[in-house]
């Protein structure tokens, strides 16, 4: 569990995160959503220690990460896996070597053991055939899956995903969402996802934190978000007519007014 207590972060005179507190639950997909400039990326960077908050604290399973010494932070970071928006794969290494890198750095395993583990995670993200390719030779969706494989190769306790669906087609986005959700449940990982993708919000949002101009504006889950009366949240998340219609349908489904196993062919007719 990750607990955030009253963190504040600013750059110069501009306050980017303003007294935000939250709890990220184990075995759940904790989503941070918000418009561009709302502070969600800075919030995530504070969580993983790339930025130091101006005040407040971040606790990893009760341990104060913010005020830890370098050695303590290093130990916590060994339990963290992160998928970056642009995947952040090492250009000069093959897919296989990218995934093997954390094993080379942090384990004393034999080469055979490392290869076995790399093959396991490659199988898990369904990328066994791409192991000898370089990042420049694979698609955006494949890069994300390699990024996930690298993030989970050391069996992390915490998984952070920054915009995992950016630049991906809807179908690939679904595959990535499904994979993240499965991994979270399978290994009881505390997953924190920064996203703009409304589909992710509705499909995998076990816990959703909506940020607005540096403040935590709303907190709930993917069922509660449908019925939320928060105007800013509704304007952000159900921005188009299509999404508003989808919301109405989901509300009807959840209140039992229509069958969620509705036969689309009947509706079309």
């Amino acid at each position: 569990m990750i607990e955030v207590r009253h963190i504040k972060k600013g750059f110069g005179d501009k306050i980017v995160i303003n007294d935000v507190s939250a709890v990220m639950d184990d075995g759940k997909c904790n989503l941070i959503i918000g418009a561009s400039g709302s502070g969600k990326t800075v919030f995530m960077k504070c969580l993983v220690g790339l930025f130091r908050p101006d005040s407040g604290s971040i606790l990893y399973d009760g341990e104060d990460f913010t005020n830890m010494d370098a050695a303590g932070k290093k130990e916590i970071r060994k339990k963290i896996g992160m998928l970056f928006q642009g995947s952040a794969l090492f250009d000069s290494l093959t897919v296989e070597k990218n995934i093997q890198f954390p094993l080379d750095m942090f384990t004393n395993w034999t080469l055979a053991e490392k290869r076995k583990r790399v093959d396991e995670v490659l199988d898990r993200v369904e990328l066994r055939d791409a192991n000898k390719k370089f990042p420049a030779e694979i698609s955006g969706g494949m890069k994300k899956r390699v990024g996930i494989a690298r993030a989970i190769v050391l069996n992390p306790k915490y998984l952070f995903c920054d915009e995992p669906n950016s630049g991906l087609d809807p179908q690939t986005s679904l595959v990535i969402d499904k994979l993240i959700k499965e991994l979270t449940q399978e290994f009881n990982i505390t997953t924190v996802i920064n996203t703009h993708d409304m589909n992710s919000v509705m499909e995998i949002g076990d816990k959703i934190i909506y940020m607005y101009k540096g403040d935590k504006e709303w907190e709930g889950n993917n069922k509660e978000i449908i019925f939320s009366k928060n105007q800013r949240l509704n304007e952000f998340i159900f921005a188009s007519d299509f999404l508003r219609d989808a919301k109405d349908m989901r509300m009807l489904e959840q209140t039992g007014k229509i069958d969620n196993d509705r036969n689309m062919e009947d509706l079309v007719r």
């Binding site: 993983v48 130990e75 970071r77 970056f84 928006q85 952040a88 080379d104 750095m105």
Partner: protein
């Protein structure tokens, strides 16, 4: 003010790169990789420059030494000292500042912009130790070697040009080479090589590591690193000459 800030960050970067490696094998591999990149990768250009530099030195020295009172072997003596004292360490290092420096700055800049450095940080790796230190140590190991090779090839190029242009025989050249040779000049050349190696590797590493923005900024950082390295090399060249000669 900006200069003081940048200098402070540069010193902090150098201080922070000294930490215990997470895995010595991986760091050793990275060090060897950098030795190969900097050393073998620059060998071709160093060979070409050195041979022509020595050859041109012989021809131009012979052109200026027209007096029949000065023995022809003096040409070799002048070429030897010029190559050792200035051409091999300074000229080669200025070229290397362009070749190696731009590569280091753009490599680190690209890693910063594409979040690869952040990825390493989050894994718990000290990125200054893993990315900057092996480059500086590799440069300190291989660039002096390149300077030694350059000096040898420069003198050889001069010998070859002297013979080919019928200016002086190889026997005269060899005689001149041994005449009034000061081993201190080799020491001076090596001191310069080590100082310049440090500049060539650490300055571009600084500009690349702290790059902010995108492709345009990587290009700017790369250019700036080469310009600053060259200016620092010339400045250090003067200071070392003033102190050590």
């Amino acid at each position: 003010m900006k200069f003081i800030q940048e200098f402070g960050r540069y010193i902090l970067m150098l201080r922070d790169m000294f930490s215990k490696p997470e895995n010595r094998k991986v760091y050793w591999k990275e060090f060897m990789h950098q030795c190969n990149d900097i050393g073998i990768g620059s060998l071709g250009i160093v060979v070409i420059i050195s041979v022509f530099m020595g050859a041109v030195s012989t021809l131009q020295t012979a052109y200026q030494l027209v007096s029949p009172l000065i023995p022809k072997s003096s040409i070799a003596q002048i070429v030897r000292d010029t190559v050792l004292l200035e051409f091999a360490p300074t000229l080669v290092c200025i070229v290397l500042a362009g070749v190696v420096g731009s590569k280091i700055a753009s490599e680190l800049g690209n890693m910063r912009v594409s979040e690869q450095i952040d990825a390493l940080e989050i894994m718990g790796i000290n990125t200054k130790t893993y990315l900057v230190l092996p480059k500086i140590v590799a440069a300190l190991v291989v660039i002096p070697m390149l300077v030694v090779i350059s000096a040898g090839l420069g003198i050889w190029g001069g010998r070859l040009a002297g013979q080919a242009a019928n200016i002086l025989s190889t026997t005269d050249f060899d005689k001149g080479l041994l005449n009034a040779f000061l081993p201190y000049n080799v020491f001076f050349a090596m001191v310069k090589a080590y100082v310049f190696s440090f500049i060539i590797s650490s300055v571009p590493a600084f500009y690349g590591y702290y790059v902010q923005g995108g492709a345009l900024e990587i290009g700017r950082a790369s250019t700036k690193s080469v310009v600053v390295s060259c200016v620092l090399i010339l400045f250090a060249d003067y200071v070392l000459a003033a102190i050590l000669l």
